[in-house]
């Protein structure tokens, strides 16, 4: 059993390092991409798009791997959190759309919306985790 625990520990350490690396990339990527898209040529701007999108992929792949490796309860928890986040994101988009159509707000930049969707997913995940850990 100690071998299993040791292997599990090593796996957890690797996942932690991957999480740190991908999170740094998630933060640095948009900064680099923003500088690239400010350049004049199409090639640099295209590179900015690739960097901006590419910086999010390792983090998404890691999240998918963590969920896939989890037990049936972990997968259930993530499924519920993703469902809540999807519904909340849709609601957010509908609210912004109608506020915009009714001239209450100016058009909202997508750079605000996708981090907001990320935050909604995190809140949904934390909320779901707390619900399951709380006594009735």
């Amino acid at each position: 059993m100690s071998t299993n625990i040791s292997q599990q520990f090593r796996t957890n350490v690797r996942v932690f390092y991957a999480w740190v690396g991908s999170t740094i990339l998630l933060g640095v990527g948009p900064v680099v991409a923003s500088r690239l898209i400010d350049r004049e040529t199409t090639a640099w701007r295209a590179a900015g798009v690739v960097v901006g999108v590419g910086a999010t992929l390792p983090w998404m792949a890691l999240m998918a791997t963590i969920i896939r490796r989890g037990d049936e309860f972990v997968r259930r928890m993530h499924l519920i959190a993703i469902a809540i986040a999807a519904a909340a994101s849709l609601l957010l988009l509908v609210i912004l759309d109608w506020l915009q159509r009714a001239w209450f707000i100016e058009s909202v930049d997508l750079v605000v919306i996708w981090p907001a969707c990320l935050v909604l997913w995190l809140v949904a995940l934390i909320g779901t985790k707390r619900y399951y850990e709380r006594e009735r």
């Binding site: 049936e72 309860f73 972990v74 399951y132 709380r134």
Partner: protein, 65 residues
């Protein structure tokens, strides 16, 4: 679904981590099953029953649903 998992676990002196390790699931899964908020799959229910040398019906009570 009601269950006796917490009573059975404590009677053996096992922690939630230990039971989770024996059943091949996380501590969170054991917590969620014990609080009755998560019903395990049939394979996991069989695994838990085997750990306590009991049948599934001896641990889980579906009549309360």
């Amino acid at each position: 679904m009601k269950n006796r998992l917490r009573d059975l676990r404590t009677s053996r002196g096992w922690s939630q981590v230990e039971l989770g390790s024996r059943a091949g699931v996380s501590r969170q899964a054991i917590i969620a099953i014990e609080t009755g908020k998560f019903d395990p799959s049939l394979p996991l229910a069989f695994k838990l029953a085997r750990l306590f040398d009991l049948s599934i019906e001896d641990i889980f009570d579906a009549t309360g649903d």
